[in-house]
């Protein structure tokens, strides 16, 4: 019939192919982000509302003593800025997982998953892409915050970068892990209530933990066990050119656990397989 016989295909993939794939996924995620201007605006407005209104209101209520990494008395705004940075990443991580649920419902996810490259790598690229988008949001926020007198040392803007990448990956993979367990988009409202808010409020984002301990020792332990607390502290210290080793260890370990969990959940023979046909026939 034809001259076509068994196809010879290269085994495995070259480094260049991996990098092409990675840049392609990040590029596409960036394009999509730029197209959704509302998303960018709301990603910026949310922390700014906290900064301009909430922090201003609370300034007199909460006195902040000198705690590391700060060397002087600081204003409440300065204290919550790293928490708000982490909040941006938390929302972004959950939002990209929301878009994965949406993509799965709409079928777009298939484009990604039928790529011949290893699925774990594809999901990792997706996480990196989401993190890259969160970096854009965070730096935009930090620039505006600078005019609001939140002025960490200039080197801090650089030293915070690795911390942001790690925390972005952690929160992104947490979102991905959660998204693998969500069947429908509607269930996502639950994620807001049961994940985002508890994580944010039971953390050191808005108040120093010694304050929490005075009020409720139990809540203090919850905050200590909350990975989000450690993301906040990692960012807080990094923004002042320091490393909080405990937070680094916790965030690093959680990133690995969540990421492995997410990749496991999206494995075709496990995660998605149990869930019946995705689109198409009923």
């Amino acid at each position: 019939m034809s001259s076509i016989t068994t196809r010879e295909v290269p085994r495995g993939f070259s480094f260049q192919e991996y990098m092409t794939c990675l840049t392609g996924i990040v590029w596409r995620e960036g394009l999509r982000f730029l197209h959704q201007r509302e998303r960018f605006v709301s990603a910026l407005v949310r922390p700014l509302v906290w900064l301009f209104i909430f922090a201003a209101g609370f300034r007199q209520v909460l006195g902040i003593s000198i705690i590391p990494p700060y060397e002087t008395y600081i204003l409440y705004e300065v204290f919550i800025a790293p928490g708000l940075v982490a909040m941006i990443q938390l929302f972004n991580g959950m939002q990209s997982s929301l878009s994965m649920v949406y993509d799965r419902e709409m079928g777009n996810m298939r484009t990604l998953l039928v790529s011949p490259l290893p699925r774990g790598f594809l999901l990792f690229c997706k996480l990196l892409a989401g993190t890259a988008v969160s970096l854009l949001q965070v730096y935009a926020f930090l620039i505006i915050a600078w005019f609001w007198d939140i002025t960490p040392p200039p080197i801090g803007y650089l030293t915070v970068l690795p911390a942001l990448i790690l925390s972005g990956l952690m929160l992104g993979s947490l979102g991905m892990l959660i998204s693998s367990g969500i069947k429908q988009l509607e269930n996502f409202a639950g994620v807001m209530n049961f994940v985002i808010f508890p994580m944010f409020f039971a953390s050191s984002a808005l108040y120093p933990l010694w304050r929490v301990q005075e009020g409720s020792p139990y809540l203090y332990y919850v905050c200590q066990a909350n990975p989000f607390t450690h993301a906040v502290e990692l960012i807080r210290f990094a923004l002042y050119g320091q490393i909080n080793w405990i937070s680094l260890a916790v965030v690093g370990a959680c990133t690995i656990v969540f990421m492995v969990g997410a990749i496991f959940a999206y494995d075709p023979s496990r995660g998605l397989a149990r869930r019946g046909p995705a689109g198409g026939e009923g």
Binding site: T6, V9, E17, L31, G107, T111, L272, R274
Partner: protein
């Protein structure tokens, strides 16, 4: 290019004879969603440079089968091979040779035609320069060159489908799967797409598996696989399937095959 790796496989498979290895081989595949059995012991082949129509009503299991071939779901029982590469064991090699057009649209509506193509190319590790050249070539082929920069959202249904087919061909697959690609298109767009895909078979030797429930899309020379309630009821060249069903045309043959199956109420 370095010397190509050996054609691989397989511990359990018989050694593939290069001349006869099918583009797609489905071998004893069953699949269940919990208690509901979607596919029951499905086996058939798609030959290179052939047009195989997978005929079945909605709910027959066509989309499940596509999800298994494309590795969206894990294979529970049986095996799927693409040019001899087992989808479960060496998905990378298998998926490189596979192009697919899913039933739901899977384009990024807010990105341009070219951007959609470049993204797909990147997912296959094709460098930007090469991808740009191939995209331009494919867009010219489907007559959408002048729309390259516009958003996909502004295309008509038929144009989107053509774009999806072009995208599926970007990495030069040897096997093309299409899941009811003409659903929702007008007569002209349908005819365009069918003739385009048939051209790929004759001119480029691509093996095509075309899932449909529309009988008029099938031609006398096609291979036919009739899927009903998760089982293959008949397969082979269209003429033979019709003759074996004792019918005059595909339509009657299909009704006879599936009707006969429903009456005894046998399980599934």
């Amino acid at each position: 290019m370095t010397s190509p790796a050996p054609i691989a496989e397989p511990l359990e498979m018989p050694k593939p004879d290069p001349a006869t290895v099918p583009a797609l081989s489905i071998d004893g595949v069953s699949h269940a969603y919990g208690p509901r059995r979607a596919l029951i012991d499905v086996s058939f082949n798609v030959q290179p440079a052939s047009f195989t129509a997978l005929l079945g009503l909605n709910g027959a299991g066509k989309s499940t089968l596509f999800s298994l071939i494309t590795r969206l779901f894990g294979i529970q029982t049986g095996r799927v091979g693409i040019f001899g590469h087992d989808v479960s064991r060496s998905p990378g090699e298998a998926l490189r040779l596979l192009g697919v057009v899913f039933q739901p649209r899977t384009l990024d509506l807010d990105l341009s035609l070219t951007q959609n193509l470049l993204y797909h190319a990147a997912l296959h590790g094709i460098t930007r320069r090469e991808a740009a050249a191939r995209s331009a070539e494919l867009l010219a082929r489907i007559g959408l060159s002048d729309r390259a920069g516009s958003k996909v959202r502004d295309l008509s249904g038929g144009q989107m489908r053509r774009l999806e087919i072009a995208r599926a061909l970007l990495h030069r697959p040897r096997l093309l799967l299409l899941d009811e690609p003409t659903v929702g298109l007008d007569v002209k767009a349908r005819a365009d797409i069918i003739s385009h895909v048939r051209q790929l078979v004759t001119e480029q030797g691509i093996g095509v598996l075309w899932a449909t429930h529309l009988f008029d899309e099938i031609m006398p020379n096609d291979d036919l696989v009739v899927l009903h309630q998760g089982k293959v009821l008949a397969q082979g060249p269209m003429g033979r399937v019709i003759a074996e069903a004792g019918a005059q045309d595909v339509n009657t043959a299909f009704m006879r095959l599936t009707g006969a199956q429903i009456m005894p109420g046998g399980g599934a």
